[in-house]
């Protein structure tokens, strides 16, 4: 469960200051599926960075469970990124020189999983996204949808509590978008994840239980709804 209290994030470029998040307070219970929408430059990715322990707020607190991500050590942030939180990116972000299988294994490396178990778990994760027979391929040899499946396998192989996705379907065509969203929904349901998806796509947003809108650093909350069928 996330509890954000009065979170602000200001970027400083020399003398210019940009306020990306302004006094955001918000609670996301475990297991919820949340969509975040809003205009470009509104602060969506910045919020995701706060939730993903990738960066610290300028002020306010971001509690994950009982830990304040604004306060814990960098070492602990690294550990939380390794164990609790996984991220799926718009650009897939696979390591181009590693095969699909090896890319999935990179997520298990910081957990100190032995080579053999790592290989088995990565193979199982690739199988669960339907790419078992493509495990030896490099990212460049896979389609966009397949690459995003590898990225999802990499995110889920370590069974995180939270899955964050920043425009996971932004680079995909409509048919592939539907496949990927269906896959994320299925995994969310099966694994009891907290799934937070940033998206421009209203169709994708409507599938979530709850929609947040961020514009100019300020959040408006739709409240919990039954997702559209």
């Amino acid at each position: 469960m996330y509890t954000l209290t009065d979170v602000s994030k200001t970027y400083r470029n020399g003398k210019k200051e940009v306020t990306a998040l302004s006094h955001v307070s918000l609670t996301i219970p475990d297991g919820q599926m949340v969509a975040i929408q809003g205009p470009t430059g509104g602060g969506k990715s910045t919020l995701l960075q706060m939730l993903g322990a990738l960066d610290r707020p300028t002020s306010g607190s971001v509690l994950l469970g009982a830990e304040d991500l604004a306060e814990v050590s960098s070492r602990r942030l690294t550990e939380l990124r390794a164990r609790e939180i996984s991220i799926v990116f718009q650009g897939f972000n696979l390591i181009p020189t590693l095969t699909a299988q090896q890319n999935v294994e990179t997520a298990l490396v910081p957990l100190g999983v032995k080579a053999r178990e790592r290989a088995e778990r990565a193979a199982a994760a690739l199988d669960s996204v339907g790419l078992a027979e493509r495990s030896g391929h490099l990212p460049a040899e896979l389609s966009g949808g397949q690459q995003q499946r590898v990225a999802i396998a990499r995110a889920l192989v370590r069974q995180p509590k939270v899955l964050l996705a920043d425009e996971p379907t932004g680079n995909l065509d409509e048919a592939t978008r539907d496949e990927i969203v269906a896959l994320l929904e299925q995994l969310w349901r099966e694994q009891g994840l907290t799934l937070i998806v940033v998206t421009h796509d209203s169709w994708v947003a409507r599938r979530a239980q709850r929609q947040l809108r961020i514009a100019r650093g300020t959040v408006t909350d739709s409240g919990v709804q039954t997702p559209a069928a």
């Binding site: 991220i87 972000n93 390591i95 990179t106 910081p110």
Partner: protein, 491 residues
């Protein structure tokens, strides 16, 4: 995972990997070849110096002859008692002079004890360099001016004296301390036949002769040589192979040499060994202070006094070779660092992603560092192979170097002498091969660049340094990347 990623990464950007490895390899090969060539030249220089001053000598002390002074220029003096005058008025003479070698001056043997008392001196041995000149023949009656064709002129060697018939012979004689084998002219020399000197030979009329003198004078162990009327027995013959010391023709116990030449308690050269290589300069300074008139020469002075192709090779290797390899090495290191930095910059998103996946900074730095190190090692191994080839080629080329020690005066002396038998009016006689400090000696050696453990260590060491340097700089850049970069650099 680390190594898999390293391997895949280096293969994935093969072009950069090859460029950096080739750059490092060429630089390392150049450094290795220059190093080995420089060691080879140094060895050659040592050979030249050892052949002149013996093994183990750090400093030599001599006293240079003042111009016109000193002995050795064959000033024969013929008195009535030297010959018998025959009926036709010509005089038969036979004279044998043992005098101090040209270019050197005698010092009191006390200097040896003064020197051994100096700081940093561990061992001292003194020698007396002499030249023996014999003249035998017939001088025409000074009254009968040679108007007609010379009667019985000396065939091929008719001297300046019309009608005379004579023979001039000269060889070098050196008095040494019997039994002192660790230092001095015979350190490093080997006895080919008979025996060497022992301390028991002091005062005895015994001699060691060089193989070349034995051949030219038709002597063997047991033969006797007459020196100023004293018969000296040859007890040993010294091998003369080209790497060993350039030998004098005849060695005598120093007290015998002093007695026969009338130079009682005189020496010409003192060989000094320092307590260690570092103290040589201190010792030389102390000796100079104690003996202000003496010429104190250290091995490095001697090395700088070596002329000929050896010294050109030496300065070529020392200057051009060194600077060239430093420049190429710097370029190769720069290349490795630049490629690593640009590689890290290009992989900003990758490293951001790995950090977002929970990879620690340490793991990222290890990754970049290992990539650089492996890259460096590839370059290092290639460099070793290329360098080895270069050195083998250099050695196979059999470059011969000649080194000449000694000053210009000595060179003139060597040019002036050299005539065996009747000289062209000059009575200089043959200069001995080695007459101390002022003498000139030319030694031919073939450049042999050594290959040893230090060679491999240097190659691998440079590769590791290059790899580490690039790895540390690249790793530092990668560590500074924020994990949020994974979200930022979308394409």
């Amino acid at each position: 995972m680390l190594l898999t990623y390293v391997r895949r990464e280096l293969r994935g950007r093969l072009r950069q990997t090859v460029i950096v490895a080739v750059g490092l390899a060429l630089a390392i090969a150049l450094v290795l070849v220059v190093n080995a060539a420089s060691a080879g030249v140094r060895n050659a220089q040592d050979d030249v110096l050892e052949s002149v001053y013996g093994v183990g000598t750090d400093i030599t002390v001599t006293q240079a002859a003042e111009p016109g002074a000193g002995g050795g220029r064959g000033q024969f003096s013929f008195g009535a008692e030297d010959g018998t005058t025959s009926d036709d008025g010509s005089t038969t003479v036979a004279t044998d002079q043992l005098s101090i070698a040209r270019g050197t001056m005698a010092m009191s043997s006390d200097v040896a004890s003064t020197i051994s008392a100096a700081d940093g001196v561990s061992d001292v041995t003194a020698t007396l360099m002499l030249t023996d000149q014999t003249f035998s023949g017939e001088l025409p009656d000074p009254g009968s001016a040679p108007t007609g064709p010379p009667a019985g002129g000396g065939g091929g060697g008719g001297g300046g004296f019309g009608g005379g018939n004579f023979d001039v012979n000269s060889f070098s004689v050196e008095g040494i301390t019997p039994g002192a084998t660790a230092l001095g002219p015979l350190a490093g020399a080997t006895v080919a036949d008979g025996r060497g000197f022992t301390t028991a030979d002091a005062g005895a009329d015994v001699a060691l002769i060089s193989q070349s003198h034995a051949d030219s004078a038709d002597l063997s162990v047991g033969s006797t040589i007459t020196l100023t009327g004293t018969a000296v027995t040859v007890v040993g013959i010294l091998a003369s192979d080209d790497s060993a010391t350039t030998l004098s023709d005849v060695y005598l116990p120093i007290d015998v040499a002093q007695a026969l030449s009338g130079l009682t308690d005189q020496v010409t050269t003192v060989y000094v060994q320092g307590t260690s290589a570092d103290t040589v300069d201190t010792a030389a300074a102390a000796i100079t202070a104690a003996l202000p008139d003496a010429t104190v020469t250290t091995q490095s002075d001697l090395a700088s006094g070596v002329t000929g192709s050896l010294s050109s090779a030496s300065s070529l290797v020392q200057n051009l070779g060194r600077w060239l390899s430093i420049a190429v090495l710097a370029a190769a290191f720069g290349l490795a660092v630049l490629f690593t930095i640009s590689g890290v910059t290009r992989r900003t998103r990758d490293f951001g992603t790995l950090k977002a996946l929970g990879w620690s900074n340490g793991r990222i730095v290890r990754q970049v560092g290992t990539e650089s190190l492996v890259q460096g090692l590839i370059g290092g191994v290639a460099g070793l192979v290329i360098g080895l080839g270069g050195i083998l080629a250099l050695n196979a080329a059999g470059i011969s170097l000649s080194g000449t020690t000694g000053g210009a005066a000595a060179a003139t002396a060597a040019a002036g002498g050299g005539a065996e038998g009747p000289g062209a009016g000059a009575f200089g006689g043959t200069m001995p091969g080695r007459v101390g400090q002022a003498a000139s000696s030319t030694v031919e050696t073939v450049l042999h660049a050594p290959i040893d453990v230090a060679f491999i260590a240097t190659g691998v060491g440079i590769a590791l340094i290059g790899g580490l340097l690039a790895g540390v700089i690249g790793g530092w850049r990668a560590a500074r990347l924020r994990p949020a970069a994974a979200l930022r650099s979308l394409d």
